[in-house]
Every structure is written in structure tokens, then in C-alpha cells.
Subunit: 199 residues, 2 copies
Amino acid sequence: MAVSALSTIKFLKQPTSHAWVDRAIAHLDIILLDHSHCERKAAGVALNLMFRYPSYEKLVRQLTAIAREELEHFEQVNQKLEERNIPMGPLAAPPYGAGLNAHIRRNEPERLLDTLLVSALIEARSHERLGLLADRCPDPDLAKFYRNLMASEARHYGIYWVLATTYFDITVVNPRLEELSILESELLATLHPEPRIHS
Amino acid sequence: MAVSALSTIKFLKQPTSHAWVDRAIAHLDIILLDHSHCERKAAGVALNLMFRYPSYEKLVRQLTAIAREELEHFEQVNQKLEERNIPMGPLAAPPYGAGLNAHIRRNEPERLLDTLLVSALIEARSHERLGLLADRCPDPDLAKFYRNLMASEARHYGIYWVLATTYFDITVVNPRLEELSILESELLATLHPEPRIHS
């Protein structure tokens, strides 16, 4: 059952379920720790792309800005962990990221296109879910925090989308986004038993 | 022959040669491009450590700040490349980084200690060499740029050193630093034929 305004998140084929929101709200400490990992991973993805395509000036410039911003968010989430006495530490990842990566084709230029579109989809989903947390979180401080972050996620998926259309023709980008967005929603169709941002 | 005040860079066994400075000044465009790669790689090293030791809160906090600053410098160097119409692109790395990494022991906790000390040494060498470029560079704008960046490198090697002494006893850290600093200077004893920050 839909709980988010899909019109603003055109990339997502299926909205997040109520069951995810309920589980997340019941485990806000774990969600916050997982969120910290998500921000660090997002910075890592941007940095890896910068390493892989050092001659792509627009990509390098835009992803440097994204990586810096993800690290700033990582610091902010870690500050929330500290305020709540939640120790930092490892956390098993849900199958979502690996499931999406499995669909990234291994040869260029398809690898670049798929990586950009998968990143766009993850950012779009993050945007949707941080919005749901902002709406439903009973802790006003955390709710405000999520509200502030979700705008950045929206900008990020826009940037990944623009990069895809910079290096690839729209007639190539659109059908591949359609395929990947179906896969993205399928990966979330069965709720992962552990509370995670992308469970 | 010494060209830098070693007293301020206690980690370095041997100062940089005049030959390196002469070659760098004669190839400032390549040095600037290599510098861009160095800043991105430095951000990558910090991020990798954050990934590998997610429970080490002090390490994660300090390296997040370093990674953010390296990305800011990366942007600044890329701005200089753009102003000078130097295209961004790949550049073969000199043997310095791989040579140092070969001495990082593979088992924990030695791996962490060696990684922190190798990072400290690279930052210390960068500090020394950016200082030499600041002193000798005939372009006043670039000289000022190097002068501004060298202070950060000094802070960074201090942070890596403090992290080493946070997680390891000083009686373990000092002899290992002594060994690695000898190796670091030996790697630079023969000038690499290509002009690089760490040739």
C-alpha cells in the first residue's frame, strides 16, 4: 500500500510499504546506525566513480561535490548516534545493494550507464524513505533531521540522472532506467527481516 | 643535498633532493595533474580506513574530517587545472605508493599500525614537497596555493601519528615508524624519471 507521493519520485516503480515504515519506526536506533553506513557507502560509490573515470570532467566535478556532502551527512548521523549513546560498529547489509550491483553490466560503456542509474535509484529510494521517516518519526529532533537530509538525496538522484544523460543518449537511458527501476522495486517487494534503510 | 628544514618534519629520514625540485619546477603542469590524483587518492585512503574499522570512533571521526578536506583540495587543484587549460586524465603512478604499501603487514593489528604510519609518512613528505614548490615556484599564484595547502598536510600527518599512538603503545609505534621512515627515504633515493609529487 502506497504511503509516499510517487509523483515527486518518478524513478520508483513501487512505493515503500507501511510494513517497512512500521518496522523502521520501531527500531530507530538500528536505522540510525544503518543510515551512517549508507552515507559512508554513498561517499565511497562517488569516489570509486571518480577513480574509474578520471578524464570525465563533469562527472568528477559533480561527484566530488556529492562525496563531500555524503561525508558531511555521515558526520551528522554520527553526531546523532553519539547524542543517543549508540555505539558505532559494523552492521550486516541487506541484500538490496548487492542485488542492484548484480545487474550492473561489466563492459563499458554499459558499466558506467548502469552504475549511474543504480546510484540514481538508490538516492531516489533514500529520498522517499527519509521523507517517510520525517513524517512518521515520533522524535521531533530526528524528524527534523530526516526532513533536512531528504532534500539532498533528491538533488543527488537528479545529478546521477543528469550525468547519465550527459554521457548517453536519452533513447538509451530511458529504457535501461525502466528495466532497473522494476528490478529495484522487486528487490524491496519482500521485506528483509532486519530493519535497514534499504530493507 | 638538503633543501628543506628537516627539524619541522621529524618523520623524514632524508630531505628531498635539489634534482626533484628542479624537475618539478620544469614540469609544473604534470605536477599539478599528479597532485590532483594525490588528493583524490588521499581521500580514498581515509575512506578505506573508515570502512575497515567502523567501530574505531576516534579514527572514523578524524578520518572523515581528513577525507572531506582532501576532497576540498582535490576541487581546488582541479580548479587550477581548469584555469591553465590542463585536461584532467589518468597518469601513471610512480613506484612510491606501491613500494610503501608492500611494507604494510597483512595481519591485524599490525596492518592498522602500518597503514596509519605509512599515511603519516606520505603526508609528511607531501608537506615537505609542497613547501619546496611554494618556495621555488616562479608562478606567484601557484606558489601561494602550495603555501596554503602545505599547512593541511602537516596537520594530517599529525592526525595519523596521534591515531597510531591512540591505538598502539608508543614503544610499539616508535620503532616501527623508524623502520618505515628509512624505507620511505630509500624509495625516493633514486629519482623516478617521470615528474611526480612522489617521484
